[in-house]
Symmetry: C2
């Protein structure tokens, strides 16, 4: 087992160590919630200021042309594309993951008109499962089938997460994609919990969606992304057929005519101020070697699992290759345990009913951080420091 000095030595040798300085991290905190909301990139504050004061303030409506606001959904998409194994002109950024999933599912059912089944995993992040239910309800004669049934031969589409939000379990994208497509269904991947934590490749999928505010560090509620495989660009329909997906938005025609390429999946006015932070975050990712990120992620999660040992029951897969960049444990009193831990400067989060989650963002979390987090967690458990009534009170957002 590594002691703290050995962890410090690993930090000193870490090829990614310089990236930590690019983020604002509060003093005295080990922030293991980068899988929920990534830390603030230093350059984001200045980038947002520039958009508000110099672009909006001085260029005003001219910013649509001069500052490139109009094309942001596509320029940000091109910049983000390598992080998911996609190429230029295949990714559009905007709105939220939920809305992007709705667009993907609706497009998929239109591409497979005879098939009245949407397959989703009840263990997907709930919003994905809910939006599948919402679409099926609107369509009337559609069924949402549990992925565990394993039947895809009458399904229009299958929606799955690459990495499970609760357990951190990782699915094998190539084999699942191939199995679904061989059955004649379309494959939609949600990569919210993998993008920015490992090498993601959705290039064989039909659609993929994800958010940018977790490992990508683009800020609370930053715009989401939608990948559309080029083989569907000419035929897939965007049910959210807003004017920014029109072939000629400024012709103000009365009939919707979809744009060429992935632009048809743009909806309407992009959230420009939120895009500014995303652009700053992507400037960091331009320089990040993802293989090193994954190697360090595996090392960090493995170290944490080893240090926690038998003190808690592991929820995540024990084999590091089978999980993302998070480690989850069971504890029947998980909520007060997490509150007690946060009170001592180690920030993880809680997922009902009984899961403690710890996310390891390799750009700003080091080996000594992991050691400190595990030491504090063991102390909270050993001394039962969580048995304090102030930790029982639930906050609105857990």
């Amino acid at each position: 087992m590594l002691d703290r000095d050995a962890c410090l030595a690993l930090d000193a040798d870490d090829p990614l160590r310089a990236f930590k300085n690019e983020f604002v991290l509060p003093e005295g905190v080990v922030y293991l919630v980068g899988n929920s909301l990534g830390a603030l990139p230093r350059r984001a504050a200045e980038r947002v200021r520039r958009t508000v004061e110099d672009e909006w303030g001085r260029q005003l409506v001219g910013g649509w042309n001069q500052a490139g606001w109009y094309d942001q959904p596509l320029t940000a998409g091109d910049r983000l594309a390598p992080l998911i194994g996609a190429g230029p002109g295949q990714v559009v950024v905007g709105n939220t993951t939920t809305i992007a999933a709705y667009q993907a599912l609706a497009a998929a059912v239109r591409l497979r008109p005879g098939r009245k089944v949407i397959v989703s995993d009840p263990r997907n992040f709930p919003t994905d499962h809910y939006i599948a239910q919402g679409l099926a309800r609107l369509l009337g004669d559609y069924e949402v089938r549990d992925y565990a049934e394993g039947r895809f031969d009458d399904a229009a589409v299958v929606l799955l997460s690459e990495v499970d939000y609760r357990t951190g379990a990782r699915r094998h994208v190539p084999s699942v994609t191939a199995q679904v497509q061989e059955a004649g269904a379309l494959m939609v991947w949600d990569v919210c919990h993998s993008v920015g934590a490992m090498e993601v490749d959705v290039s064989q999928a039909d659609f993929a969606v994800g958010c940018t505010y977790k490992y990508l560090n683009a800020g609370p509620g930053a715009p989401a992304f939608l990948y559309v495989n080029p083989r569907h660009h000419a035929t897939a329909e965007n049910v959210l057929s807003g004017w920014h997906g029109h072939a000629e938005p400024f012709a103000f025609e009365t009939g919707y005519r979809p744009a060429e390429g992935v632009r048809r999946f743009a909806v309407s006015t992009p959230h420009v101020v939120s895009f500014a932070a995303l652009e700053a975050a992507l400037e960091v990712w331009d320089r990040v070697p993802m293989a090193q990120v994954r190697a360090k992620s595996v090392a960090l999660t493995s170290l944490f699992v080893d240090l926690v040992g038998d003190a808690l029951k592991l929820v995540s897969p024990a084999e590091p290759e089978s999980r993302g960049s998070q480690v989850s444990f069971h504890h029947p009193d998980g909520y007060p345990v997490m509150r007690a831990l946060i009170d001592r400067g180690v920030h993880g989060d809680f997922r009902a009913p009984d899961v403690l989650r710890f996310g390891f963002a390799p750009l700003y979390i080091g080996y000594a951080d992991v050691h400190d987090a595990a030491t504090t967690l063991l102390e909270v458990l050993d001394k039962e420091l969580w048995r304090d009534e102030r930790y029982a009170r639930r906050l609105a957002v857990t």
Copy 2:
């Protein structure tokens, strides 16, 4: 006809004159595009900085509770509600007008299941008409009918703009709403071009949608809003059934169960950084007497129409009570005319095929501004200054 000194005297007597200091306006420009993108409120820059550096940067994921991010869609909705004649708990903020219109139309067709007609006006802003077409296409057996046909007795829903984006023509909300509802259809108003320019009252409508980046000055791509009449709160369905509209989002249930009240129309993670600018903009509106805004708006548009006189053909209604806060004119070479005008510091915009638009935001546009704008416009026309090839080249966004 008023001369410039008379206009300066009116500015000196203007009860709204102090508001101009709350906005950043570029030197030497008369900005008559506030109906497209409102000017930057000075406080917005600081409010956005605080959200990025103090909230995201220091509170990190804790901002969902501490900074109130989680409730922003409802708190901003309550703050905005008086601007549209609504009460607390009736408005949810987020996403875009197009997406809000989709939610409203989809909810409406679910509330009127036997009626397979969506009525829209081809002169609505195109995205509204397009999204109606997208929904009808997805549903399969629905028709989008032209409002001009005047038949609503078999319609599920009617979608109209209070103020026409091209002409500035204003519809009479109470009588149209009553007519539509008497025919058994539901009424959805788009108030993008009226909110913040006049007293809006959608309280008799079934739904209303609008944006916050025009007269409300909340910044490029600021979140939109959706009003849902309380009589529908228990029964209307949000087809974009994301987790933030769930009764207990943090229970992570597998089945969608809608929240009580208007919260069920929330979708997913709000665009927090964009919300910051909206909150700053609404701090201004808290203090604005809307009757004075409308009175000044009528005076400004009337003055501009008078000063332009016969030099251009008026597109907008001549009667000020029948228009919003914009004035539009025809010109066969409208595009180069507008480019020439902008080149001389008077910013309006162009709407295909031949419309020059001028928007008058009473919080920061004064009578002398109107005089200067008209003088420059008359000079551009009189001397044919627009006949210059550099004004012919089209920009991406017009």
